[in-house]
Amino acid sequence: MEDLEGLDEIVGEFLVESHENLDQLDRDLVELERAPGSRELLGSIFRTIHTIKGTSGFLAFSQLEAITHVGENLLAKLRDGHLTMTPGTTDVLLAMVDRVRDLLAAIEADGTEGKVEVADVVQRVSEALEGRESSPAQPAASVEEAADPVVVPTAEVPEDLPVVVPEVTPVAVLPDVPAEVPAEAPAERRSVADASIRVDVDLLDSLMRQVGELVLTRNQIVRQTGHGEDLELTRSAQRLDQIATELQEGVMKTRMQPIDHLWAKLPRVVRDLGAACGKQVELVMVGRETELDRSLLESVKDPLTHLVRNAVDHGLESPERRTAAGKPTEGRLTLRAYHQSGQVVVEVCDDGGGIDAAAVAAKAVDKGLRTAAQVALMSQAELLQLIFTPGFSTAAAVTNVSGRGVGMDVVKTNIEAIGGTIEIESVLGRGTTCRLRIPLTLAIVPALVVECAGDTYAIGQVSLLELVALDAERAARAIEDVNGVPVHRLRGVLLPLVRLTDVLGVESTRDDGHVLIAVLQSEGRRFGLVIDRVLSTEDVVVKPLSARIKQLGAYSGATILGDGRVALILDVQGIARRALSSETVEGELDRHDAESTRSEQERWLVAGIGGGRRVALPLEVVTRLETFPRDAIELVGHREVVQYRGEVLPLLRLDHHLSVGSWRDSEPENLVVVIYQSGDRGVAIVVEEIVDIVDEAGRQSDISDRGLTGSVRIRDRVVEVLDVRDAVLAADPGFYDDIAPVGAGSWDAVPALEAM
């Protein structure tokens, strides 16, 4: 459809459709000559003209509308028997059709109706309408149409002669257009009708399936010839590889449509919504031509519209507030689409007020979705993700347009259903960006091929975040147990582990102690899937599974690998649901503990402080866990401090504080730090390692020492409980001077989030 470049897409479609309609019209008119007065034919002609009239009115082609309007009236009367066909009326109708064709050609040539006049034909049609026989041959019209190469069958055409297919050379039918236009290489410029054909979508789908098969066969052949000696064969295989790839891309392209198909409706949505909300909105669209599979386009429509409505309704501020904030009164909404690493990225950005993470946190707590302690541990990005939680809505006031309390979670579900992801970024006062990542197509997916218990499985790359390989020695240390749930501390964050062998009830064949973890993400939950081996990455063609296998909840499909073997495609969502109990899942969401539904008073953070000693801190005093590089430590006087999010925090080394003595010969590269913040003050407590977050398992005893408030039994081990107040005072003697004491709840710390 290159010819349509620069031409409005809608007009292009209109032209294609109208040309088809006109061809039908020609056939109908010829038929009509033979069977004058056939209601059926007149009805068909009427519908055709009616369709053109409707669209031309919509597209503001006034001449076209005027002529089809009277034509329609005439046809209606003929159809309903108020007028009878005479040769005169046939002529008039043909003249009208010719003029319509002229107009369409003019529109196709330069997007306007050009200088084609319709008054004379309108006149003739009107006369026919009034029952007057117009003079059969209007000389003016005939002269003007002399240049028209379109052969319209008239009575003289023998009946058995097929309708002459109109080879519309747009230039020739425009006698008024200057002569240099034909020089514009008409041979290169096919008319719209010739440049595109309509193809049954089923046919495209079946082509797509066959190409999928071809890709599989290609994979098999390429694999088999990969280590062969036959050079000729290898070369042929490479050629096949190349052709198959190109063919795959080509067929996929036939199903591709520019995202503009969706976007075209949005300016209106934005305008109306902006008007309803009393907001001025400038809509900017970047990357309209970005294409994606038509089936996906359909699935993205509703989520995208929802995001746009959200952005206008909640994202952008009122003109008054914008002025007050020093922004232009007109809000800007930017839609951006582009391809990135085999995916289509669609962004909806507004330059509005942004999302207040603290408000999100407060609301999540308010609605009982998370506890105060949980949100205190979450990063800003994690807090923003809460708006995708079912039942969450950030709109303070429920407006009539959106914010009905359902929304973002549905958007997320819909996007994930097509294998996409959604993320949100927001800067308070600056705006919000929602980013959708959508696969190009569903039929062929890039996958990681893995082995488990001697069987081969495929995991869609879309849910794969990273791979972690641990050798036996590290695995023994780095895989820990939290209430029977194995976890791995990945860069300081606890990752619940799921052994694929456990999920599938099979025996691992790996006995060297090595552990391979595929870090997966599903429905916002991260977990590590322990597999035996990674074999390869491959583009796999998704084959449907019988319902009986699907209902097992562990497989989303099957595929055939390069060596011809069948591999099941793991259903990452299903496995996550199956393997992670709701507690684990929830805990995973705040990523720092593995179980979070208990009340926060009983919860402890257990940290190693060196020399084999461990201390427990009430979780409520933990604002955040961080690591700092050693060289981030600065000295103020004799005190060590670190800069943290714009604040200077005094550093307290627990080993020194509790007189453990240096636990290592040299200081490690990175310091593990527990941040405790209250109001605008905070301290950074350095520990050796974070061991766990647990519930209190035993009673607190009085056995105590300096700096401790007692001890607690945690999993058959006595752990000392840190006197947090004492420790904080050691770091910052003035800490409690102007704020509430520890224990008033970490909620005090939340306003600090707002400043971030």
């Binding site: 069987d455 009830g505 084959k543 009986r548 296998i549 097992l552 099957a558 011809g564 073997r565 069948v566």
Partner: protein, 134 residues
């Protein structure tokens, strides 16, 4: 269309049979019931294979033993039945037919339409829909 399972002759209507194959490598499906004998690659199509022995409550085949696959179409789905060996296509008369004897194990009996009394042996007619649905 006849085949044997544990030395006995079984049959399905020939119209439902798409083809007969020598055993293909099967990918097992963990979590699936044991009668699900795995997935096979039939010229790019992924089919489920049903272990008819287990389905009919017969002893499992000796490991490593040769087997054959009968590819059938049932209720819009194509699947493969794992059988011991393939017999011939035989014509049967309606008057040779008898419903399955009452003395059969009910679970087994349910999967049979009945028996045809051939000259030399009994041909057990399999109720394919039921045999693969269980």
């Amino acid at each position: 269309m006849t085949f044997t399972l544990d030395e006995r002759l079984y049959g399905v209507r020939v119209e439902s049979v798409q083809e007969v194959l020598r055993g293909l490598p099967r990918a097992r499906v963990p979590l699936a019931p044991p009668t699900m004998a795995g997935l096979i690659n039939l010229r790019g199509q992924v089919l489920s294979a049903v272990d008819l022995r287990l389905q009919l409550g017969l002893p499992a085949a000796a490991p490593g033993r040769d087997h054959m696959l009968v590819v059938i179409r049932v209720a819009g789905e194509t699947l493969a039945l794992v059988v011991d060996s393939i017999g011939s296509v035989v014509d049967v008369d309606v008057d040779q037919f008898e419903p399955p004897p009452d003395t059969l194990d009910p679970a087994f009996r349910e999967l049979l339409l009945g028996a045809y009394k051939l000259d030399s042996t009994l041909l057990l007619a399999l109720d394919v829909d039921r045999a693969v649905a269980a």
